[in-house]
């Protein structure tokens, strides 16, 4: 589920990048190239050292067919390797890789308006710590969809823009199987792997930017094609799962004397009609599903949460080439209904689960030239939660990260 939301947000982000590529007046073809790569070592308080990388490569070409008609094609390769992640999102050892293509037609209407219809398709792979082949990933997904965006430009000296975007996508998980259902009823494969995660995704976003300030509202709706909602009897009913995420975000990127700041804040509300059955062990049974201490418990609205993220990176440009940087990132998630658990996997009635992950980073940045930079960094990660059940996923830990990142963009 998180992957889909992430994918949707990336799509929104890509739309922003697409928008950023502007044709040079003198050229019919204008290339767009952005490559960032981070490789880091991770040392958690529990467990051994491991390494992970993040790679994002975007290559595109903007062709100016006429003065008013432009065509933009973009390929995006992304890889997210092993690493620390906010609680309830992924295991440290999970990795993902994606290939996504977007083709967008741009039509300028007058001096202030522009429409951008387009389509996109992609394939995303996932891999767990078991090192399965990429093609066998349980959460591999294929996406295809359409986009329609409209831009209103104002105050051109300060790049003022308001963009309204609609995105519709079909998302399919060809390998997904419900392992628990498969284990409990091996003969009934149709219920276990009949495209349970397949869904349609619709997203509407209204964003604005001016003088390097930006902000927006993004609403994402996920309609599952086959996945049914589990009822408080422990049986799947007839209602299909629907998830909705509403996100507000804002930030800016400005320089003041030697200080270069790019803070960003976002607030997300995730709501799902899906509930959760917690089995303490395979084959567990219970007569009182509403008791959070039973071997089997029904947790209503298990997935609903509100999440705030705050990111405050600051670079001190000591010279034209060198900068010393510091950054603070906080991700705080509060579940609206899910109770916290004790170390024995019992839900504590009357409580609500809260997670927080804070990262403090110190770095040294060297600007190689006007298109490239390298950064050496160290981060201290502190993850805390009132959920004390940590058999399968750590919720309370500290971690050290030290790494290197490169960025080259044109």
């Amino acid at each position: 589920m998180k992957k889909i939301i992430l994918s949707a947000f990336i799509a929104a982000g890509m739309a922003g990048r697409l928008c950023a590529a502007v044709a040079e007046d003198s050229k019919i073809f204008t290339p767009f190239f952005d490559m960032t790569m981070t490789e880091a070592g991770y040392l958690p308080s529990e467990g051994n050292i491991f390494s992970g990388a993040n790679i994002n490569t975007q290559v595109g070409l903007l062709s100016k067919i006429t003065q008013k008609d432009h065509l933009f094609g973009l390929y995006n390769f992304s890889y997210a390797g092993a690493g620390f992640a906010p609680q309830d999102s992924k295991q440290f050892t999970d990795r993902s890789m994606g290939h996504n293509f977007t083709i967008e037609y741009r039509r300028v209407l007058g001096e202030k308006f522009r429409v951008r219809p387009g389509f996109s398709f992609g394939r995303d792979y996932s891999r767990s710590g078991a090192n399965e082949a990429w093609k066998n990933g349980l959460y591999n997904m294929n996406t295809a969809g359409l986009q329609l965006a409209g831009d209103f430009m104002f105050d051109t000296e300060k790049n003022g823009i308001v963009t309204l975007t609609y995105l519709g996508k079909s998302v399919k998980f060809p390998n997904y199987t419900d392992l628990l259902r498969e284990f409990m009823d091996p003969a009934n494969t149709a219920a276990a792997n009949g495209g349970l995660q397949d869904q349609t995704l619709k997203q509407v976003s209204l964003r604005s930017g001016w003088n390097n300030f930006f902000g927006g509202l993004t609403v994402t709706q996920q309609d599952y094609k086959n996945q049914k909602v589990v009822a408080n009897t422990g049986i799947y009913g007839d209602t299909k799962q629907k998830d909705k995420t509403t996100m507000l975000d804002a930030g800016f990127h400005h320089k003041l004397w030697i200080f270069e700041m790019s803070p960003m804040v976002s607030y997300s509300m995730h709501r799902s009609n899906q509930n959760f059955m917690r089995y303490k062990f395979l084959g567990a049974t219970s007569t009182n599903l509403l008791d959070g201490s039973s071997d089997v418990s029904f947790i209503k609205k298990n997935y609903d949460y509100n999440e705030t993220t705050l990111s405050v990176p600051v670079d001190l440009n000591i010279t034209g080439k060198w900068a010393v940087g510091g950054a603070m990132n906080i991700t705080s998630r509060a579940y609206t209904d899910r109770a916290k658990r004790d170390s024995n996997n019992n839900y504590i009635t009357g409580s609500k689960q809260k997670n927080m992950m804070s990262t403090l980073t110190g770095s040294i940045r060297k600007r190689i030239n006007d298109v490239a930079m390298v950064r050496l960094f160290y981060s201290l990660v502190v993850a805390s939660s009132n959920n004390k059940f940590e058999k399968y996923m750590p919720y309370n830990y500290t971690g050290n990260t030290f790494g290197l990142s490169y960025q080259l963009s044109y």
Partner: protein, 247 residues
């Protein structure tokens, strides 16, 4: 400035080490296990270190290269690579990109010596080659993008003499016969760092095996310094030193 950087680096490292609980023995076992599970993948990462997948500098017709570290030393990959320009940028018509052919071969000297002198190794053969083409186009006076294709092939065979098979992590290893073969797409960008010095960053992606690497390189008239990163490899970082001449 350098002193300031060293102080910061020291602080970060000391802070990191203060929290460190690294189990090096366990890490070593994990790395050894990964090599045994996929020896061809491990050796192929070193082949990528010697593969010359950047375009010839503008105005040059051909070039030769040999990998020094970590290929010749310590892996004993005796190797040679070449590049040949088929078309200079803008020669036929304005905007038509530069086209170079690339290729190279390597053979592991240690494997030959081991076969000759060892009491335990019966036969060993480690070698590989690559070939392909790079298309490059200037997008501004200071930036050149390049795109390419390469076919990479590696062969790794090792057989121990009967009765001399070593125990590795509790398993007797008698032989392995493995290889690696894939078609790669290359995308990169090159920008000047100084007079006659260039800096580039590229992504190599294997279409069948989905092996990928990121190469960051600094190169001048004679030498190339690089940092090749294999996020899914056994040894993630490969510092690289290559010697080349372009004519």
């Amino acid at each position: 400035m350098k002193r300031l950087i060293l102080i910061f680096l020291s602080l970060f490292l000391i802070k990191g080490v203060a929290f460190a609980k690294i189990d090096w023995e366990s890490k070593g076992m994990q790395i050894a296990g990964e090599i045994i599970a996929n020896p061809a993948g491990f050796f192929y990462d070193f082949q990528q270190d010697l593969e010359s997948t950047t375009p010839l500098p503008p105005g040059k017709t051909f070039g030769i290269q040999t990998g020094l570290f970590p290929t010749t030393v310590p892996m004993t990959y005796v190797n040679g690579s070449g590049k040949l320009r088929l078309h200079g940028e803008g020669r036929i018509a304005p905007g038509v990109p530069q086209v170079d052919l690339i290729g190279g071969y390597w053979d592991m000297l240690a494997a030959k010596m081991a076969t000759k002198d060892s009491q335990t190794i019966d036969s060993a053969k480690f070698n590989g080659y690559y070939m392909g083409a790079i298309v490059s186009s200037s997008v501004s006076p200071r930036v050149r993008t390049f795109w390419g294709y390469k076919r990479s092939v590696l062969s790794a065979k090792l057989r121990f003499k009967p009765g001399e098979e070593p125990d590795f992590l509790g398993t007797k290893v008698s032989s392995f016969d493995t290889g690696f073969k894939d078609d790669f797409l290359i995308a990169g960008i090159e920008t000047p760092k100084g007079v006659s010095k260039l800096w580039s960053m590229q992504l190599n992606y294997g279409l069948k095996t989905q092996v990928f690497s990121s190469k960051v390189s600094w190169y001048g008239k004679y030498f190339e310094l690089g940092l090749n990163i294999f996020p899914e490899g056994v040894l993630v970082f490969h510092p690289v030193w290559n010697f080349h001449l372009n004519f």
